[in-house]
Amino acid sequence: MTWRGWLQIVIFAVLITALVKPLGGYIVRTVDGGGHVSRIFAPVERGLYRLAGIDPAEEQSWISYALALLWFHLVGIAAFYALLRLQGLLPLNPQQLDAMTPDLALNTAVSFATNTSWQSYGGESTLGYLAQMVGIVVQSFLSAATGVAVAIALVRGFARRSSATIGNFWVDLTRITLYVLLPICIVAALILVWQGVPQTFGAYVTATTLEGGQQVLARGPVASQMAIKLLSGDGGGFFNANSAHPFENPTALAGIVEMLLIFLIGAALTNAFGRMVGDQRHGWVLFGAMAVLFVAGLAVVYGSEGHPNPALSQFGLDQAAGNMEGKEVRFGAGQSALFATVTTASSDGAVNAMHDSFMPLSGLVMMANMMLDEVIVGGPGSGLFGILLFAIVAVFAAGLMIGRTPEYLGKKIEGNEVKMTMLALLCVPVAILGISAVAAVLPAGLSGLNNAGPHGFSELLYAYTSGAATNGSAFAGLSANAPFYNLTLAAAMFAGRFLVIIPVLCIAGTLAAKRIVPASNGTLPTHSMQFVGLLVGTIVIVGGLTFFPALALGPVAEHFALQAGLTY
């Protein structure tokens, strides 16, 4: 571990904390149609509503909201699928790349519509510019806006009293895209271009290397895709190497900006939540719980990567810089550890190092971050509604312990909310563990593994964890572009996204219909450090009980094997 590594971590933590409050306030203003930016672009918003025949004043029940969301994504996935299958006939494809196979196209379309960005393909060798821009980028915007819309709808459930509606999906989607995502992305893309990220429609170029050989350099409209790739929590790279590629992440400053973009919306939404329920302390409690879990995970990852790999020490290698296998020397162990923790704690999935080469305990943290249901900042919106689900479990457990009807923010937490919360929280573990178990015994699943023993199992477990938690990062080492993996991962991504969102919207609807009970002496305070501890404990215990057996078979077993000199 180096002082530069720690300095980067401190700079990142200070910057993201400083941005939470102003952006949280901005999000609340724009979602309600206020603020300077909204006023400037209001004609565009009104034009879109007229074009689509939407009455922005008409509010929706949770069922209408959910059905609108599902319909929208069904059309989106089908259109994206068609784009990928017809790529060879479409313009803006200077490399004349062929269409994707049907199973890969379905996997890719579901992946980006669910805000996952799992990529069973290499971007520069598979997708033309039209598919990257109209397919990947558009779905990145819309899937992120959907996540934020669902989170805002749930917060309205807490904030409203005796209401039959939770907002209008089309209005939320439009405003979040136009006023939150688009302006930030324009600024971020310009910063990335300034740092050296390409933005061009020109074809790939051939360069002469120092040795005199010829090398094709892929390029394209990269900066615009990078901005939304990071901000949206999608993480799908323009290039196969993702943010380890020098054209995606050229400098240390670009690296810090990319990590800030990954956390920005998810972190700011905690403040937006506090503002909407009328007490910002509630937002800081959620942010505090996220920070505790993030710092604990980062300490393990940097602690593991900042020290030598014992399997390499026996060869007398200089490992003063830490475990540098699979890492870019430009970033070192410090920024690689930070990036890996940020990208798995959020639902982003961009990578600046090869996660397969991290130490086993780092792999454990990365998987645990995703398994905890995206509650450590998470993706745009999904992090907030994920941690609010755990808050409901926490107040329910506390209510049982003190013998009172559980309440959160003045809303009684009753049987329906708890059942819906359980449905939402169990969906991801069922998808991860169930499909991993099937893949671990079927020849089609085992044939994709490139390693044996616990490391091979970790590759498989990581893939389905990444899919069901809508993260999208890959452990590497798994040959995932096969019909079995493409279809099962698509199923995991679909379940991990839509089967979580539906009960969340149901909770929003039932909570909105309730009155707000005034706080009394017997009310559990949910704006205190005590509640931070209760919430963190609930998340760790639920996550630990659910996933520890699977983690014991993978990274835990590999860690002890490595100490005994065994590698796989």
């Binding site: 009684k412 059942k419 819906m420 089967l499 309730k514």
Partner: protein, 38 residues
């Protein structure tokens, strides 16, 4: 042929999701008691 299969799978998945919405709605109606909070 494979395209039809893929799109069929997609439609089936979304039909299942719509069924899930209906099931959640039924469950919430049967569970939610009238709010008697004073």
């Amino acid at each position: 042929m494979f395209d039809l299969l893929a799109l069929g799978l997609l439609v089936l998945a979304f039909a299942g999701a719509v069924g899930y919405v209906c099931a959640c709605d039924d469950l919430s109606r049967s569970e939610t008691s009238p709010d008697k909070t004073p």
